[in-house]
């Protein structure tokens, strides 16, 4: 077990454990933010494992996760738009999100420095950019940003309830 897999072990135990606890307990908004951060914390751990095992093919796992993790969060943000807006915003969603984004960027930079200038480094940079951008977009969608989609979904849900009561 070398340094990379040890770092990945600590990152998984701390990050994935904390987000699992956040997703299992607490109000709905905190659970959704925890689900978003879980995928954002696991992708750098997969990159560290790719370096630790010496198999560059494992970077593809982080690439797929960087693409599909935010998609899962957007599914929840769209289908839970009404309930997330009703429950009120829990403060303190920004801090952990920015911290996790910075952690992901740091891991990508360190791995790029280790890999050295090559196509593999450009691949790592692409994965890092997708990871940070996806994380920020998904968290913005959760907190009710992107006005039209969230607001219209909430209004549609309200109108559906009204028409069900009348009809």
């Amino acid at each position: 077990m070398n340094g990379w897999t040890t770092t990945a072990t600590v990152a998984l135990a701390g990050g994935l454990g904390a987000t699992l606890w956040g997703a299992a307990t607490g109000p709905l908004h905190r659970r959704a933010v925890a689900q978003n951060l879980a995928s954002a914390v696991t992708a750098p751990a997969l990159l560290l494992l790719a370096q630790g095992y010496g198999r560059p093919a494992y970077v593809d796992l982080a690439l797929v996760l960087a693409l599909l993790g935010p998609v899962g969060t957007l599914v929840f943000a769209r289908l839970l738009a009404g309930e997330l807006a009703d429950g009120g915003q829990s403060p303190g969603g920004r801090g952990p999100t920015l911290a996790v984004a910075a952690y992901g960027a740091l891991v990508v930079v360190v791995l790029c420095a280790v890999t050295g200038p090559s196509r593999a480094m450009v691949k790592l940079l692409v994965v890092g950019v997708l990871l940070v951008a996806g994380n920020l977009i998904a968290s913005k969608a959760l907190s009710g940003g992107f006005g039209t989609a969230g607001a219209s979904a909430g209004k549609n849900a309200g109108q559906e309830r009204e028409s069900n009561g009348r009809g």
Partner: protein, 60 residues
Amino acid sequence: MRPWRAVRASGEVTVWWAALFALWLVLISTVDPLELLVGAAVSLLGALAARAGRRAVHDE
């Protein structure tokens, strides 16, 4: 009008093709002629799909 629209359409497809092909070259593991051929073909399909999607969203 028609030739100008054809030029714009092919220009947009070419830009998409170049971006997708560059992404392909970065993401594959080894670069050999077969990979280049497959990448060029798939990038062309993707570029056509991207232009169709963009037209559907923007209602040109």
